[in-house]
């Protein structure tokens, strides 16, 4: 069952996949085929997950999202044959790798600013999201990512992992090394903060 807003604003066109509309029952077969060298199966896994990875990375590693995503897939391919688990574990694995690679990239390039973004005046907000998203066709998605980037990093990350990554609270908690309660609180605070930003700026997607 889809939320009401799905039908209103984002009902998928036929044949267009929606993030979070996961592979589902076919996942085990697709994964096995990919592990045995099936490129079509691997392509399906990639196509399903890469947009989500990119949206996550464009918030947590805005200047290196594409590089980190490519780096993530290199790691995934290397470990693909050893991976065991269902689709939830698969997604958790992908995003865990992406997060580590993003942290490595941030440390290496010293590009990640640690100060809370909401304390920065609007004019000084990083414009990298704009640059990275120039080719993005979905104006709504671009704006949404930009809005998420205005949240405190933990709140934005938790929301993205839950919404884009399709991970549940416990999986996010394990990935981030925090308690499920802390994850839940961060997510809810982030959504309230988002509502506040939307109300203040009058942004509509």
């Amino acid at each position: 069952m889809r939320p009401y807003f799905w039908r209103i604003c984002c009902a998928p066109a036929a044949g267009v996949s929606i993030l979070g509309a996961v592979i589902g029952e076919d996942f085990a077969a697709v994964l096995t085929a990919a592990q045995r060298g099936g490129e079509a199966a691997f392509s399906r896994l990639w196509t399903d997950a890469n947009p989500a990875l990119l949206r996550y990375l464009r918030v947590i590693a805005p200047e290196a999202a594409d590089d980190v995503a490519a780096d993530t897939w290199v790691q995934v391919v290397r470990g693909l044959r050893r991976f065991r688990g269902g689709e939830a574990a698969w997604r958790a694995w992908l995003f865990t790798i992406a997060r580590r690679r993003a942290i490595d990239a941030s440390r290496r390039r010293l590009r990640r600013r640690e100060e809370p973004l909401q304390d920065v005046p609007m004019a000084l907000l990083p414009t990298t999201a704009d640059a990275a998203d120039q080719a993005m066709e979905h104006l709504g998605t671009r704006s949404a990512i930009r809005l998420l980037a205005r949240l405190p990093p933990l709140q934005a990350e938790v929301i993205l992992l839950r919404v884009v990554g399709g991970m549940d609270t416990d999986a996010v908690a394990r990935m981030l090394g925090r308690s499920p309660a802390a994850v839940r609180v961060a997510a809810h605070r982030g959504l309230r903060r988002l509502a506040q930003i939307l109300a203040e700026t009058g942004v509509t997607l």
């Binding site: 889809r2 604003c9 060298g37 990639w46 959504l191």
Partner: protein, 252 residues
């Protein structure tokens, strides 16, 4: 837990939490004021979940190339499993392979030496037992080498021997002579033995030029020796040693 009546504020907060949880999970939020107030947030999350844009799929070719290189290619599912041993080999290093090759060549050389009977006695015995190589010096008994004095070659051997003796240099190490000495039962018996061989009776240098053979090699070789079909030499004076048959059995 006591069932306290919740204040209104908590009801609102609880409803909002439920709505937020539903938004995060992507499920239908409960209808109500909280959900209605979160409508703009719901729109943002829906935009985050929207279908992939073209630039988000631009990296597929690179990922496929990486996949082909690391895991395999379509239609060739076993390639990946073949890659592993190859990588393993390279990890073990060329050294192991080189060592194996050296060992193989070395063993081959030893084996060749063993079959040539050129190893030290103890090694030769070992090779004899394990790979059936000639059993060292006893190989002379086991494997007939050179002309057999028991066969039709006796005449030629004796002629050659007598010729050599006449010229003062019998090559005792020559295979033919060795066989002759063995057949005769000792170097000193060769002349007598040869005297018994038909056709050597009138040997010019034979010390016992008796035309009528009565010598020690009784019964052997036959005076009417014309090449017996039995190819196994059994020199009468010495006879086959016990180790002979033993070694032969073990060797074969």
């Amino acid at each position: 837990m006591p069932n306290f009546p919740w204040p209104a504020r908590s009801d609102v907060s609880s409803n909002e939490d439920t709505a937020l949880a539903a938004l995060l999970a992507g499920t239908e939020p409960p209808a109500g004021a909280a959900a209605a107030g979160l409508r703009p947030v719901a729109d943002v999350l829906a935009a985050l979940r929207a279908g992939p844009a073209s630039d988000e799929l631009a990296g597929l070719a690179a990922a496929q190339a990486e996949f082909r290189q690391r895991v395999g290619a379509p239609g060739r599912p076993k390639r990946a499993s073949r890659r592993r041993p190859a990588r393993l080999t390279s990890r073990l290093g060329v050294r192991a392979a080189a060592a194996a090759a050296v060992a193989a060549i070395g063993l081959g050389g030893v084996a060749a030496a063993a079959y040539a009977g050129a190893l030290p006695a103890s090694w030769q015995q070992f090779a004899h037992r394990t790979i059936g190589a000639p059993a060292g010096h006893r190989a002379d008994h086991d494997t007939p080498v050179g002309p057999r004095p028991a066969g039709p070659a006796a005449h030629g051997l004796c002629t050659s021997y007598q010729h050599a003796v006449a010229h003062g240099n019998p090559k005792e190490k020559a295979v033919a002579l060795r066989n002759l000495v063995k057949a005769a039962g000792g170097p000193g018996n060769v002349s007598a033995w040869c005297a018994a061989v038909p056709g050597n009776a009138h040997s010019p240098s034979g010390p016992h030029p008796s035309p009528h053979r009565t010598g020690p090699p009784a019964g052997h070789p036959s005076p009417h020796h014309t090449g017996p079909p039995h190819g196994h030499p059994s020199p009468p004076p010495t006879g086959p040693p016990a180790q002979h048959s033993n070694g032969r059995r073990m060797g074969s």
